[in-house]
């Protein structure tokens, strides 16, 4: 029974990949309908990553649009060596980071707003019912980006350092900082 289920799952994966490859191939030739189907299939994951990186709905929506507009141009670079979703994920992270750099206002560059707002946040009850996403969004920008890329998306600190243009040690330090802040937000005492 279990073996049959595994085969069905495998068949679905193979069939899914085949139809996705067809869509990619059509979209590469300029088929907008095929590109729309790819959008429908992947917008959920793309937007989720954009939202967690930017920490703001409007910016995440704009960044998601930017991702798909750039994807239309970059699709020719996809050689099929890796999973499309993995490749799209990496494209999304890079485009969103660069979009955030462009959007960062001069006010934010002059005044470091990195720590603003943290102290105003009340600690949550120490319960198991925690909305981690809401807490992650409350983290300061750099700590949030490192946490999302490392803990949620599984990138290595070396890769994150290169993506965010920082030292590997800084990436690890920001991750530690994010964890400490999350601990505070959740109302967990130091062990």
């Amino acid at each position: 029974m279990e073996h049959t289920q595994q085969r069905v799952v495998h068949a679905n994966v193979v069939f899914g990949n085949k139809s996705e490859n067809e869509l990619i191939s059509k979209a590469k030739k300029g088929d907008k309908q095929a590109f729309r189907s790819l959008y429908d299939e992947h917008i959920g994951r793309v937007y989720a990553l954009c939202y967690r990186l930017t920490g703001e709905k409007g910016m995440a929506e704009d960044a998601s649009q930017e991702v798909f507009i750039q994807l239309w141009k970059k699709l020719a670079n996809f050689d099929g060596q890796s999973q499309f979703s993995t490749w799209l994920h990496s494209v999304t992270a890079n485009i969103t980071i660069s979009y955030m750099r462009k959007q960062k206002g001069w006010v934010q560059r002059i005044f470091n707003l990195e720590n603003s707002g943290i102290n105003e946040m009340p600690a949550e009850e120490n319960s198991t019912d925690v909305d981690l996403e809401a807490l992650v969004i409350r983290l300061p920008e750099r700590a949030r980006m490192v946490f999302v890329l490392h803990a949620i998306e599984g990138y290595r600190h070396e890769d994150i350092a290169s993506m965010l243009n920082m030292a590997v040690g800084s990436s690890k330090a920001q991750f530690f900082r994010a964890k400490q802040l999350l601990k505070d937000f959740m109302g967990v005492d130091d062990e």
Binding site: G30, Y39, I43, R45, Y47, A48, E61, D62, Q65, I69
Partner: protein, 170 residues
């Protein structure tokens, strides 16, 4: 691994990989893609070398767009308070029309280098109309505003390019 790390790992594994945006993003994406295709075909049609005067024309266009670019966010902030997000788009369109008219007037005595430039200008006009129609529903959409800036920039560049003297095209 500490208790907190265990707890955090549990929360992370429970976090949803997908999240749907609240507004429809496809329309802006489709317009962006269409605008890119328009750029590509226009580039093919006018693949002449860029001369010093054309560089100046491009620089002037870039300056105009930069001014609009910096002015737009502030104007939009003001618009929000007036609850009239589309007023800036109208102002931009009017300013663009004035610039196009004055450019055309200044090139009145110059023969255009291509015959179909007015068709190309009309195509860009149509593209601007489509974007403006979308902006009526969603006046704060920054991707659409960027596209409209871009189309207007293309119009100015087109007029200047086709009216450059022939000796400058060599």
């Amino acid at each position: 691994m500490s208790n907190f790390d265990d707890k955090l790992a549990q929360h992370i594994s429970g976090i949803s990989k997908e999240k749907q945006p609240e507004r429809d993003l496809w329309r802006g994406i489709e317009l962006g893609i269409t605008s890119q295709q328009g750029d590509a075909s226009q580039d093919d049609a006018s693949s002449s070398t860029v001369t010093s005067k054309q560089w100046m024309a491009i620089a002037a266009s870039v300056c105009l767009v930069t001014v609009l670019w910096f002015a737009a966010p502030f104007a939009f902030k003001a618009d929000e308070s007036r609850s009239d997000g589309y007023a800036l788009i109208d102002a931009m369109s009017m300013q663009q029309q004035q610039q196009v008219n004055s450019l055309l007037a200044s090139y009145e005595s110059t023969t255009a280098l291509t015959e179909d430039w007015q068709e190309q200008l009309k195509e860009l006009d149509d593209a601007a109309d489509v974007i403006k129609a979308a902006l009526k529903d969603d006046p704060d959409n920054s991707a659409l505003i960027k596209m409209l800036h871009h189309v207007y920039q293309q119009q100015i560049a087109l007029i200047e390019r086709v009216h450059a003297p022939k000796w400058q095209q060599i």
